[in-house]
C-alpha cells in the first residue's frame, strides 16, 4: 500500500475529504471542522441555546460518488456511431440503435469542426442548437454556467433555454401576484430559523420534503438537526403530500393526502373557514393586499354560487370536511410557518396542471395569517440559518468564467470583480442567444428538431421582471434557420422532461443532421449521438466552490448550511481513460476553430482560473491562497455583530426592505418599500395578468385568484380517467440527484427503495402503489409491472405500500438511462423513464411550464421478458 493523501472536494450533496492512494480514490467522507474554523452561531430560543454540529453532512448520491467516478459506464474514448459518415451516409434514422466505435480525439475534433463550419457557412447563424442538463458536477469554474456558457457564447450557438422547472407554479402563478421575479416567484428566507424557534407553534409542510431534496437543494442534511430542534421545542408538524414522505416519517404529527390536483380546493376550504369564523388577519389584508374583496366573494360563492366550504372540498380532495376544518382552526389559532416547498417555494404541487393556482393559494393563505409577522411566514425549514451574507463568494449561477449576462447572474455583482481592470481577463457574450436571437424552449426541443414552427412565451429562466415571462417568441426566430446541428451536453432528457418518447423519436425522425453528445457516462440520450465526447468528473480537474451555494435565482443559497464552507476542489486523480475535463474539451474545439486563445483567455488552464476566481472573492481578506490550497477549505466566520432581519418582516411592518435580498430592485419599488407588483402589495387580482389580457386571455390563468380550476388531466377528465384511473406523482428522487447517481452501475442501484434487482440481472426502477390498488390488479410487492397510457409504457418493480392513498401511484422522476425493448421512442422502456408517460402540455397555454404531476396511467402485472 502506498501513502494515503487526504484532499478536498465538493459535490452537489456536500463537501468531502477525499483519500487518494496510488492515484486511486479510496474513500470520501464529510468534513469535521478544525478547531480554528470559526462560523458557529447560537440561537437562544425557549430556554435552549442551539448551535450547529461542527461537521458537514452528505447526501446519499454524494456518498456513492466513488461508484460514479469508477463507473463501468464511463466513456473512456471519443466514440463515433458506426454507420455515421459526415461526408457520406449519415443514417440518422439508426440513432439509438447502431453501435459505436472508438475514434481518436483528433478525428472527433476534426468532424466537429467540419460540421460547425458547414452549418455556419451553409445554413446560417443560429442553426447550431446546444443545451445542457439542469445540474452539473460541482465547481464554479467547470459548472455549466461557467465553462460551458463561455464556450457556447464564443461559438455563437443558439441555446435551448430551461423552463424554471423547480419553480413552475410559483413562477407563472405566484409571480404575477407578488413579484419576487429575482427568485422566480418564491420568497426570501432570511433568519427564519430563529424566528420559528422563538415564535412559531406549528409548521405546515405542503408539498415539501426537505429530507429528500438535499434540504432545499445541494445542502445534504444540514437542516435535519434544526427540524429535530423544532420537534424538541414542541412545534407541531403537519404534512400535506400525496406521499407519506421522508420528512413526515421522521417528524410528522399529522398527514393529509388530498387527491392529486385538488390541493387548491383544500386550501380554499381553509380560507373559507377563516372567512366564516373571522380567524384571519383583517388588518394585514387591508394594508398589505389588494383585490381581497373580489376574491373573498369568489371563495364565499357569491360570484359563482359555489361556496368553497370544507364539504365542497371533501368531494374534490377526499379529505373529510371535519379534518380540513380542524386544520384551518389550528392554523388560525397558532403561529404557523407554511413550508410550501422546501425552499419556501418549490414542491411537486407546483409542477402540475394546477401548479399556478396552488402557488397562489399558498401566498393567499400566508397573507391571511399575517405573513411576515413573528412566527408566521412562508418558510421551507431548509434555509434561514444565521449567516454572513456580506462575505462575497459567488454561487455557480453567477457565471464563473463566462461573465455571461444572459444565462447567468454575472451582471449582479460578479463580472465587475472577476473581469476587473488589471486582471487581463475577458467576459463573453452571445449575440445569437439573446431575446433578439434564436432560442428554443427545452420542453419543445423535439419539435425544433422536427423543424416544426411554434410560438411560446418566456425565454428560459425569465426573471428579470414580472413581465419577462409574458414576452412572445417564435421558432425559428425571424431571419433564423431551422436547427441543423445539436450539441448536447449531458443526456438526461428522456428521463426528466415530459412525454419523452418525443425526444427519442426526434433524434431518429427529425431533421438535425449532426448530433454531438458530451457526457461522462454512456446512458440516456448519449446513445443517440453521432459523435460522443468523453468528459471527466470534478474529481479529475481543479475547481472551487461553496457548499450548497448556487446563487442567481436563489440568492444566498448558503443560508441552508450550518456553516459557509468554501472548498478548494482538488484534482484528486488524472482523468480516467482518454476522458478530458469539459474545459479542456471546449479549449480543444475552439482551438480547432482558431478561437482557442479567446476561450482560454490567452492560455489559462483551470488551475489558473481558480486562482483568478479566488482573487476576485472576499477570500483573500481572510486566508492566503497558499493556506487555502493547503487546508482545502475555508469556513466563513460568523460575525459577532450579526443583526437578524427576518424575511418579509419589513413588508408586514410597512418598512423599507432591510434584508440582504437581491430584490425587489430599486426600479421595481418606490423607495425600496413594497413588493414588485404595480400596487406594491400582494394582489388577489393580479395587475400584470390584467395587462396581459389586453394581448391574450388565458382562461386557465385568471387575473383574480387563486381559483380552483380542475386539472386538465385528473379525476374530472372522466373519459381519460375511466381508461387510466391511477394518478401518478413523480417527485424529485430521494437517493439520486435527478439522474446523478442513478443507473451507470452506481451503488445507489442497490438501495432497496431506489431500484430492485430481478432474476434477469436488471435493476428495475421502483413504482409505489397502495395495497388496495395492487390487490385489485393481482400485483404483489416486488412484482414487475407495466405502467402505461396512450403516450408510452414503462416496466417497473412494484412496491406495495400504505404511504399512498388508493388511486395514487408514485415513482421518482429522473431515471438516468433509457432502455427501450423495441424501437426507440415507440416501445416499452425497462430503465424506468416514467416521463415517457407524462403529458407535454404546458400548465396553461401562456405558462411555458412542465406539469409532470398531472398524469393518468394504468398499471398491470408484467409477464414479459426483458431479453
Amino acid at each position: 500500500m502506498g501513502q494515503v493523501e487526504r484532499l478536498t472536494n465538493c459535490t452537489t450533496g456536500g463537501p468531502v475529504y477525499v483519500d487518494v492512494e496510488d492515484g486511486r480514490i479510496i474513500r470520501m467522507f464529510p468534513i469535521d471542522l478544525a478547531d480554528d474554523d470559526k462560523g458557529d452561531w447560537v440561537i437562544d430560543a425557549r430556554g435552549r441555546k442551539l448551535t450547529p454540529p461542527r461537521r458537514t453532512t452528505l447526501s446519499p448520491h454524494a456518498q456513492a460518488q466513488r461508484s460514479m467516478i469508477y463507473s463501468p459506464k464511463r466513456i473512456m474514448t471519443p466514440l463515433k456511431r458506426v454507420d455515421f459518415d459526415h461526408r457520406g451516409k449519415r443514417n440518422i434514422h439508426n440513432r439509438g440503435v447502431s453501435g459505436y466505435e472508438p475514434i481518436s480525439w483528433e478525428a472527433a475534433l476534426d468532424i466537429c469542426a467540419d460540421e460547425i463550419e458547414r452549418c455556419r457557412r451553409e445554413v446560417g447563424p443560429g442553426s447550431i442548437l446546444t443545451t445542457e442538463s439542469s445540474h452539473h458536477l460541482w465547481g464554479n469554474i467547470g459548472y455549466r454556467h461557467s465553462a460551458y456558457n463561455r464556450f457556447l457564447n464564443i461559438m455563437g450557438f443558439a441555446h435551448a433555454g430551461h423552463n424554471p422547472d423547480s419553480w413552475e407554479g410559483w413562477h407563472w402563478g405566484a409571480m404575477p401576484m407578488w413579484g419576487n421575479s429575482h427568485r422566480l416567484g418564491i420568497p426570501e428566507q432570511y433568519d427564519l430559523l430563529e424566528d420559528a424557534l422563538k415564535h412559531s407553534e406549528m409548521v405546515v409542510f405542503w408539498s415539501a420534503d426537505p429530507e429528500t431534496t438535499g434540504g432545499g437543494i445541494y445542502s445534504a442534511f444540514e437542516s435535519t438537526i434544526r427540524r429535530f430542534w423544532m420537534k424538541e421545542l414542541g412545534l407541531k408538524m403537519v404534512f400535506i403530500d400525496p406521499y407519506f414522505n421522508h420528512t413526515a416519517e421522521l417528524f410528522g404529527d399529522k398527514w393529509f393526502a388530498p387527491r392529486l390536483g385538488t390541493d387548491v380546493a383544500f386550501g380554499l376550504a381553509i380560507a373559507h373557514t377563516w372567512l366564516a369564523e373571522g380567524t384571519y388577519d383583517k388588518d394585514y389584508i387591508e394594508k398589505r393586499t389588494t383585490g381581497f374583496d373580489e376574491w373573498k366573494d369568489y371563495v364565499l360563492g357569491k360570484t359563482d354560487n359555489v361556496p368553497k366550504t370544507c364539504e365542497w372540498a371533501e368531494a374534490e380532495c377526499g379529505i373529510p370536511a371535519r379534518e380540513i376544518r380542524a386544520l384551518a382552526r389550528e392554523w388560525g389559532a397558532k403561529k404557523t410557518m407554511l413550508a410550501s416547498g422546501s425552499l419556501g417555494g418549490w414542491g411537486g404541487a407546483c409542477r402540475s396542471a394546477t401548479g399556478n393556482e396552488w402557488a397562489r393559494t399558498m401566498v393567499a393563505l400566508a397573507a391571511m395569517q399575517g405573513y411576515g409577522k413573528p412566527g408566521s411566514n412562508i418558510w421551507g425549514t431548509a434555509q434561514g440559518a444565521p449567516s454572513d451574507e456580506s462575505f462575497c463568494f459567488p454561487g455557480y449561477a453567477e457565471g464563473g468564467i463566462s461573465g455571461d449576462p444572459e444565462k447567468s447572474a454575472s451582471a449582479y455583482r460578479w463580472t465587475y470583480r472577476m473581469f476587473a481592470h488589471g486582471t487581463g481577463s475577458h467576459p463573453t457574450v452571445n449575440t445569437h442567444d439573446s431575446p433578439e436571437g434564436q432560442s428554443v424552449p427545452r420542453l419543445r426541443i423535439p419539435e425544433a428538431m422536427m423543424h416544426e414552427p411554434f410560438e411560446w412565451r418566456g425565454k428560459g429562466f425569465c426573471g428579470s421582471s414580472i413581465e419577462s415571462q409574458m414576452q412572445k417568441y417564435q421558432y425559428p426566430a425571424p431571419g433564423y434557420p431551422f436547427i441543423e446541428m445539436y450539441w448536447r451536453y449531458g443526456g438526461s432528457f428522456i428521463g426528466t422532461m415530459q412525454q419523452t418518447n418525443r425526444y427519442a423519436r426526434a433524434y431518429r425522425e427529425g431533421k438535425v443532421s449532426f448530433v454531438v453528445n458530451q457526457s461522462i457516462w454512456f446512458e440516456g440520450e448519449t446513445r443517440f449521438a453521432d459523435i460522443v465526447l468523453p468528459a471527466c468528473t470534478n474529481f479529475e480537474r481543479w475547481d472551487l466552490a461553496e457548499f450548497g451555494n448556487c446563487s442567481g435565482y436563489i440568492p444566498d443559497t448558503f443560508i441552508q448550511c450550518n456553516h459557509r464552507v468554501i472548498v478548494f476542489q482538488k484534482k484528486c486523480i488524472e482523468p480516467l481513460g482518454e476522458s478530458r475535463s469539459d474545459y479542456d474539451i471546449f479549449a480543444a474545439v475552439t482551438d480547432r476553430l482558431g478561437v482557442g486563445d479567446i476561450f482560454t483567455d490567452g492560455g489559462r488552464d483551470e488551475y489558473d482560473w481558480c486562482k483568478l476566481y479566488y482573487d476576485a472573492t472576499d477570500l483573500p481578506k481572510c486566508i492566503s491562497w497558499e493556506d487555502f490550497e493547503k487546508k482545502g477549505y475555508f469556513v466563513v466566520p460568523f460575525p459577532d455583530d450579526h443583526v437578524s432581519t427576518p424575511a418579509m418582516r419589513w413588508f408586514a411592518e410597512g418598512r423599507k426592505r432591510d434584508t440582504p435580498d437581491w430584490g425587489p430592485r430599486p426600479g421595481d419599488t418606490i423607495g425600496m418599500r413594497g413588493l414588485q407588483t404595480s400596487s406594491g402589495k400582494i394582489e388577489f387580482v393580479a395587475s400584470a395578468i390584467k395587462r396581459l389580457e389586453r394581448d391574450v386571455v388565458d382562461p386557465e390563468r385568471p387575473a383574480m385568484g387563486p381559483q380552483f380550476i380542475p386539472s386538465w388531466e385528473g379525476h374530472h377528465t372522466t373519459e381519460l380517467y375511466d381508461k387510466y384511473p391511477l394518478q401518478m406523482v413523480s417527485p424529485h428522487p430521494r437517493f439520486s440527484f435527478h439522474t446523478m447517481g442513478d443507473g451507470k452501475g452506481s451503488w445507489l442501484n442497490e438501495v432497496k427503495d431506489h431500484r430492485v434487482l430481478k432474476d434477469d440481472g436488471h435493476y428495475y426502477y421502483v413504482m409505489r402503489l397502495n395495497a388496495k390498488d395492487a390487490e385489485a390488479r393481482g400485483v404483489a410487492d416486488g412484482d414487475l409491472i407495466r405502467a402505461f397510457n396512450d403516450r408510452g409504457e414503462v416496466i417497473l418493480c412494484a412496491q406495495v405500500t400504505e404511504r399512498l392513498a388508493p388511486g395514487t401511484v408514485h415513482a421518482y422522476e429522473s431515471c438516468a438511462d433509457y432502455i427501450p425493448l423495441g424501437k426507440p421512442g415507440e416501445s416499452a422502456d425497462i430503465a424506468g423513464c416514467i416521463n415517457l408517460l407524462t403529458n407535454k402540455r404546458f400548465i396553461t397555454p401562456t405558462s411555458t411550464a412542465m406539469s409532470n404531476n398531472s398524469c393518468l396511467i394504468q398499471v398491470e402485472k408484467w409477464e414479459g421478458k426483458a431479453s
Binding site: 470520501m28 452528505l58 456518498q63 399529522k254 379534518e323 380542524a326 451503488w747 434487482l757
Partner: protein, 278 residues
C-alpha cells in the same frame, strides 16, 4: 478496558442509506489486510437496512432496522482456528486469508449478516471499521456520516455501557439467540410491538371527536389509553402483535363504541368510528 459498542436509534432512522453507502465507499475495491479483503462492487449488504411500515393509510409509520454485524460476544460464527476471531475490543473479524473457502461461516450467523464473495471464495461482513479504529478513528464510517445521529459508536467500559443501556432503555435485537450482541437498539419497540390507531368523529356535528378517549383491552385487562386529538386521531402503541384486542372509544354525552382490533405484526389502523349522542 474500553470496548466497542454501537447504539442505533430506530426512531431517528429514515432510511437515507448514507450508512449503507459509506460502507460501500470504504470497502468496495479496497483491501485492508489483515482486517478485510475488498467487498464486491454489487451484492453485499454489510450494513443491511430492513424496511417496514406500521399501520395502514391514512395513519401510517415507517420503521427501519439498520443491521450491521452484531459483533456478538458469544458469536456462533467464531472458529477455533482463528478464521473468525474476536478482538479484545469486542469486534468480530473474519480473517480474509484463513477464511477462504469456508462457506459454512455464512450459514453460521443467525442474524444473516455474513455474505459470500463468490470471486474470492470468502465469507465477508462488517468489521466495525476495525482498521480505522486502530488508526485512531473514534467512529465508524456509518456513524460518521449518519445525518440524524441514529448511529453512535460507544467506546466504553462494560459497566459504563450497561449503565447507558439501562438509562436509554437499549435492547439487543433477537435476544432469544443468546449471542450477546454489541449492537444495541433504541426504540426497538417499533419492530417488536405494534399499535392500534384510528379516527373518531361525532356523528351529530360531523366534527372530529377531540378529547374523546380510546382504550385498548385484552381479556378484560386495560393495556393502553389515548386521548383523541384535534384531527380525531388516536394511536396506542407497544402492544403485543398477533392478538385481537377490544378497542373502546367514548366521550361524555355519547354512546361508547367498541371495535374488535386484530393487531398483526404490521399494526392496525381502524376505519373512522362515529359516536352517536346518548
Amino acid at each position: 478496558m474500553k470496548t466497542w459498542h454501537m447504539v442505533i436509534d430506530i426512531e431517528r432512522c429514515h432510511d437515507c442509506n448514507d450508512c449503507f453507502l459509506a460502507d460501500k465507499d470504504e470497502f468496495v475495491e479496497n483491501d485492508f489486510p489483515p482486517y478485510s479483503a475488498a467487498q464486491p462492487w454489487h451484492g453485499h449488504r454489510w450494513m443491511n437496512i430492513e424496511r417496514g411500515e406500521r399501520g395502514q393509510y391514512p395513519i401510517v409509520q415507517t420503521r427501519y432496522l439498520p443491521k450491521p454485524c452484531q459483533h456478538c460476544d458469544a458469536a456462533p460464527c467464531l472458529t477455533e482456528d482463528g478464521a473468525v476471531y474476536k478482538r479484545p475490543d469486542g469486534l468480530v473479524i473474519i480473517d480474509p486469508v484463513k477464511a477462504v473457502g469456508r462457506r459454512e461461516i455464512v450459514d453460521s450467523c443467525p442474524y444473516g449478516v455474513i455474505y459470500w464473495n463468490e470471486e474470492k471464495q470468502l465469507a465477508q461482513k462488517c468489521t466495525g471499521c476495525a482498521h480505522l479504529i486502530d488508526a485512531g478513528w473514534t467512529e465508524t464510517r456509518c456513524s460518521q456520516v449518519c445525518p440524524t445521529g441514529a448511529i453512535r459508536v460507544v467506546l466504553a467500559e462494560e459497566q459504563e455501557m450497561a449503565r447507558l443501556a439501562e438509562a436509554e432503555d437499549l435492547k439487543v435485537y433477537l435476544p432469544e439467540l443468546s449471542s450477546r450482541p454489541r449492537v444495541y437498539y433504541k426504540n426497538l419497540y417499533r419492530w417488536t410491538h405494534a399499535f392500534v390507531a384510528g379516527n373518531v368523529a361525532f356523528k351529530d356535528s360531523d366534527e372530529c371527536a377531540e378529547g374523546a378517549t380510546a382504550v385498548v383491552e385484552h381479556e378484560g385487562q386495560k393495556l393502553g389509553e389515548a386521548v383523541v386529538n384535534n384531527y380525531g386521531d388516536f394511536l396506542i402503541d407497544r402492544l403485543e402483535p398477533g392478538r385481537t384486542y377490544a378497542l373502546t372509544v367514548s366521550a361524555p354525552g355519547y354512546r361508547p363504541e367498541t371495535r374488535e382490533a386484530a393487531v398483526g405484526e404490521d399494526s392496525l389502523t381502524l376505519e373512522t368510528v362515529f359516536l352517536e349522542k346518548d
